[in-house]
């Protein structure tokens, strides 16, 4: 399977740079896959920040580090929790959708119909979806991070009555611009993983509706696992480069 996904990714790179470019399709998928994920990303992002601040506060205070709480929340959310949780939510919502949609197109011969009409189905169906996922996930992550910081503020405000200005100052002093880069850069990889795994599973679905269900489920499982593995690898690379 890993070999199959690798070859499928090579096909993507063989096709992505050559015309015809389906800009309208990419835009449509960015809307469908990205904008419709906003509600769940909003709730998740806000709650991550809120819960992280609430859970960490007693421990931080016990060690006399209560004033570092905004910085700790900000760093955790920006460098790790924001990108990874957003990517996992995105995988659950989008990868399964792509797997199911392309899978049902495969078993109902719609992909064959496209091919026999001299239209490159890989380019029209796969390249557009993978590009849309790769481009939209970083934007969703920035949005989720913003909401997580807001959630963190609410938790600290309720317990310590901190002012917004003080909270913003603490966050800005703790998080440097270089902390943002690895977190955001890796979401391009995560978006690519979600798109390519969902497309691979759906595009190669067989065995009728059973195959469609299997494509949908395994898209989520495989893309979530790959996100975590790549997070570990990219995390290691980032630490090596920055240290």
């Amino acid at each position: 399977m890993v070999g199959g996904i690798f070859m499928f990714s090579l096909d993507f790179f063989k096709n992505v740079f050559f015309p015809p470019y389906e800009f309208a399709e990419i835009k449509k998928h960015m809307d469908e896959l990205g904008v419709k994920t906003l509600p769940i990303i909003s709730v998740t992002g806000f709650i991550i920040g809120l819960v992280l601040a609430m859970q960490s506060e007693p421990v931080m205070i016990r060690f006399g580090a209560g004033s570092f709480l905004p910085g700790m929340v900000a760093l955790s959310v920006v460098r790790e929790l924001g990108p990874v949780i957003t990517a996992l939510i995105f995988a659950g919502r989008v990868s399964s959708g792509i797997g199911a949609e392309l899978g049902s197109m495969r078993v109902t011969e719609q992909i064959d119909a496209m091919e026999v009409s001299a239209i490159h189905p890989f380019k029209f169906l796969v390249v557009t979806r993978v590009l849309a996922c790769t481009l939209i996930l970083p934007m969703l992550t920035v949005y989720a991070i913003f909401l997580a910081l807001l959630g963190g503020f609410l938790a600290i405000f309720l317990s310590q009555n901190i002012s917004l200005q003080l909270y913003i100052n603490a966050v800005v002093h703790s998080v440097e611009f270089v902390d943002l880069i690895p977190g955001i850069v890796k979401t391009f990889f995560f978006g690519f993983i979600v798109g390519i795994v969902g497309s691979y599973k759906g595009y190669n679905a067989d065995n009728g509706t059973v195959g469609v269900g299997r494509a949908s489920t395994s898209s989520v499982v495989v893309s979530s696992l790959l996100i975590l593995v790549f997070d570990m690898v990219l995390g290691k690379i980032t630490v090596s480069l920055w240290s």
Partner: protein, 251 residues
């Protein structure tokens, strides 16, 4: 107009031989009906002709070009002039009827929007579904889907049309209408057609030539009238209507 030559075509799936050394010549403007039991390789034959499936051995020549050796670019050039009506019609679920019809026109031909619109209206008129132009496939009945599938197949004015069970799952009246439509379109467009079907009425309306497949081989090739009066036990069994003993209630 298009001529198809199939030479020594074989195709297997694992140990199961589906097509075994089949040779067939289809002349220009001929309507060849292919019969056979379910799983006898009829649809596989159609898919091999357009290279949706790769045959294990043998050659398929369309207008003198060997499909097997064509580059993807040349194959796509050839496919622009081949129509394929799938058994399920295979309409694109996410697109309206209009978008389904204009999809091949936008990507493969340089028509102006006005020309595209005229072509869409013309084919919808031919299949008597002008009012369905903005409907989604989910809003259409089985017969309407087949008609729209047919409209999408002919909108590019193909020289060769392959029909995979065009009347399966339709009531007898709609089946006859679809068959009639196919023969009218063939007369208008002068296409060569290969029709896979189990429907004898459809075949009687359309066929100029008939082929029967059994166990991966051609069991009969020739005239449809002679086919239905043939003494071969398999053919008799296949085309006989007297299969139920009414008095005894036995098959």
């Amino acid at each position: 107009m298009s001529e198809v030559e199939i030479k020594h075509l074989s195709k297997s799936f694992g140990d199961m031989v589906v097509l075994d050394n089949i040779s067939l010549n289809i002349r220009e403007e001929e309507n060849v009906v292919v019969f056979g039991r379910s799983g006898s390789g009829k649809s596989v034959l159609l898919k091999c002709i357009v290279r949706l499936m790769e045959p294990d051995s043998g050659d398929i020549l369309i207008e003198g070009q060997n499909v097997k050796y064509l580059s993807n670019k040349k194959l796509n050039e050839l496919r622009k002039y081949i129509g394929f009506l799938f058994q399920s019609a295979a309409l694109y679920d996410s697109m309206s009827v209009r978008e389904n019809l204009e999809f091949p026109l936008i990507r493969n031909f340089n028509f102006t929007p006005a020309e595209r619109e005229k072509k869409i209206k013309d084919v919808l008129e031919k299949v008597s579904l002008e009012d369905s132009i903005d409907k989604m496939p989910a809003e259409l009945s089985g017969g309407m889907k087949k008609r729209i599938g047919l409209a999408r197949t002919i909108i590019t004015e193909p020289r060769l049309i392959l029909y995979d069970e065009p009347t399966t799952g339709l009531d007898p009246i709609t089946s006859k209408e679809i068959s009639q439509l196919i023969i009218e379109l063939q007369k208008d467009l002068h296409t060569t057609s290969i029709i896979v079907t189990h429907d004898l009425i459809c075949a009687k309306i359309i066929a100029t030539h008939a082929v029967v497949l059994k166990d991966g081989k051609i069991r009969y090739e020739g005239n449809l009238e002679k086919l239905t009066s043939n003494d071969d036990p398999f053919l008799k069994d296949f085309f006989s209507n007297d299969i139920i003993d009414v008095k005894n209630g036995r098959i």
